[in-house]
């Protein structure tokens, strides 16, 4: 499968990040206002501290493939970009110490063959949600 060259994608990121700095000085971010309230008030977003902005996008590649990549810009308190990362969706990082610290149990999961289980009603599994919408276009094109 042909991939879109990384260099070209990296240039796109550079364009985005270098003008994002301009964006930070020229535009004010709108506050986030919650109107649905399950149980807890969420504070208004105030982006004056270091944070990360991430864009996760899927895009088609030749031969009906699909590529997925995530760009993360690391911003300091003034909104200047201090780092950029390109991360594949499945390699979202989880620092080992942080994961073990989170309240929960860290278990080795080997898995069991479905055929070895007591009968189940359903199987919960991933579906390609983005591809789901993609395929609607295919259906429409077939109808034309």
């Amino acid at each position: 499968m042909q991939k879109i060259p990384k260099g070209v994608v990296a240039i796109a990121v550079v364009i985005v990040l270098t003008v994002f700095v301009y964006y930070r000085y020229a535009m004010k971010l709108f506050p986030v206002v919650r109107t649905e309230a399950p149980s807890v008030m969420v504070q208004e977003a105030v982006f004056d501290k270091p944070r990360e902005v991430s864009a996760e996008v899927g895009y088609p590649v030749p031969n009906d493939g699909y590529d997925n990549v995530r760009f993360t810009l690391v911003l300091d308190a003034e909104g200047a970009v201090t780092d950029v990362r390109e991360v594949a969706v499945e390699t979202n990082t989880a620092d080992e110490h942080q994961v073990e610290f989170a309240q929960g149990l860290l278990a080795v999961i080997k898995g069991k063959k479905l055929s070895e289980l007591e009968p189940v009603d359903r199987i919960g599994k991933s579906s390609l949600t983005t591809d789901a919408f993609n395929s609607v276009v295919n259906e429409l094109q077939r109808q034309i």
Binding site: K3, A45, P60, Q103, A107, V108, I109, R122, S127, T129
Partner: protein, 287 residues
């Protein structure tokens, strides 16, 4: 047991209603809702509501009540993930020339990354925006179908939308027993959960599916890090479970507890080393 099966949102739906009879028009109503949802919220359809602002100038615009609801949840998830989840992301690479679908000319983000906010059914944006509800849309759709079934007078059912689902219980009161597929291993279960008035979402990565690898670049730390290969969440409804898995993928672990608290979700995070992190309130067998 009454089965309703159809293709929708690009996947195979399977609904089971545990009742002796089911209203004849229910299947038609459900399918009509899904078709309507597709036409309104697919980012690949030029006339969809999510694409209504591809050429917009800065301003405040009314949106439909459903789109408003979806955007308000998206805004909440953006907050909970520290801004990492944002439904505008589809346009970032599109502006750079990738991911353009037939029939829709590319949104131009220009020199600034757009920002947006939602209040009730008014969206305020500072320039053209293409929204992408992938990651939170399907769960919402599952829950609306559950509402349709309930208003038809059926209370024992399970709605399976290609692996994400919502189940009430069976007619005899027992929960629905659902295996959780080990991400990336189609014939293997990582565990089993019992769904009783609960939603389930399971997520893995596209890249493994297509057999491509992508190098992890962590410029800041320059160290080998543990990869997350998939996750699962159980929550009071399918929408919350769907949002939870998206949040888990796009958050650092420090944010997991707050996400879980707001969405009322129990979760599993699968790591590349074969171990999984299960939240304290995770119920069910793990293998």
């Amino acid at each position: 047991m009454h089965a309703i099966e159809f293709q929708g949102l690009g996947t195979a739906w399977s609904i089971a209603i545990d009742a002796p009879t089911v209203p004849e028009d229910l299947e038609g109503k459900i399918i009509a809702y899904v078709r309507d949802f597709e036409s309104r919220f697919s980012r690949f359809l030029p006339g969809s509501e999510v694409n209504a602002f591809r050429n917009a100038v800065a301003g405040t615009y009314p949106v439909s009540s459903e789109f408003g609801r979806l955007l308000r949840r998206a805004a909440e998830l953006r907050e909970l993930t520290g801004g990492v989840y944002d439904p505008i992301v589809g346009g970032v690479l599109e502006s750079a020339g990738y991911g353009i679908q037939s029939g829709a000319h590319p949104v131009q983000y220009g020199v600034t990354l757009p920002s947006w906010s939602i209040e009730d059914v008014s969206v305020t944006l500072d320039g053209p925006i293409a929204f992408d509800l992938g990651g939170i849309g399907k769960g919402y759709c599952i829950d609306r179908i559950a509402d349709l079934i309930r208003s038809a007078g059926c209370s024992n059912f399970i709605v399976d939308g290609g692996g994400d689902m919502y189940g009430t219980s069976k007619a005899d009161g027992r929960p629905w027993r659902v295996a959780i597929e080990y991400p990336g291993r189609p014939d293997t279960a990582a565990g089993v959960v019992e769904l009783r008035q609960a939603g389930l979402a399971v997520s893995d990565s596209f890249r493994r599916r297509f057999g491509q690898e992508h190098h992890l670049i962590d410029l800041k730390n320059r160290k080998s890090v543990m990869a997350v290969v998939g996750c699962a969440a159980v929550a009071p409804d399918a929408w919350a479970a769907d949002c939870m898995t998206s949040g888990l993928f796009l958050s650092v672990p420090e944010r997991y507890p707050e996400l879980a608290r707001i969405l009322q979700a129990a979760y599993l995070v699968f790591r590349a080393d074969g171990r999984a992190l299960a939240s304290i309130d995770w119920e069910g067998e793990l293998y």
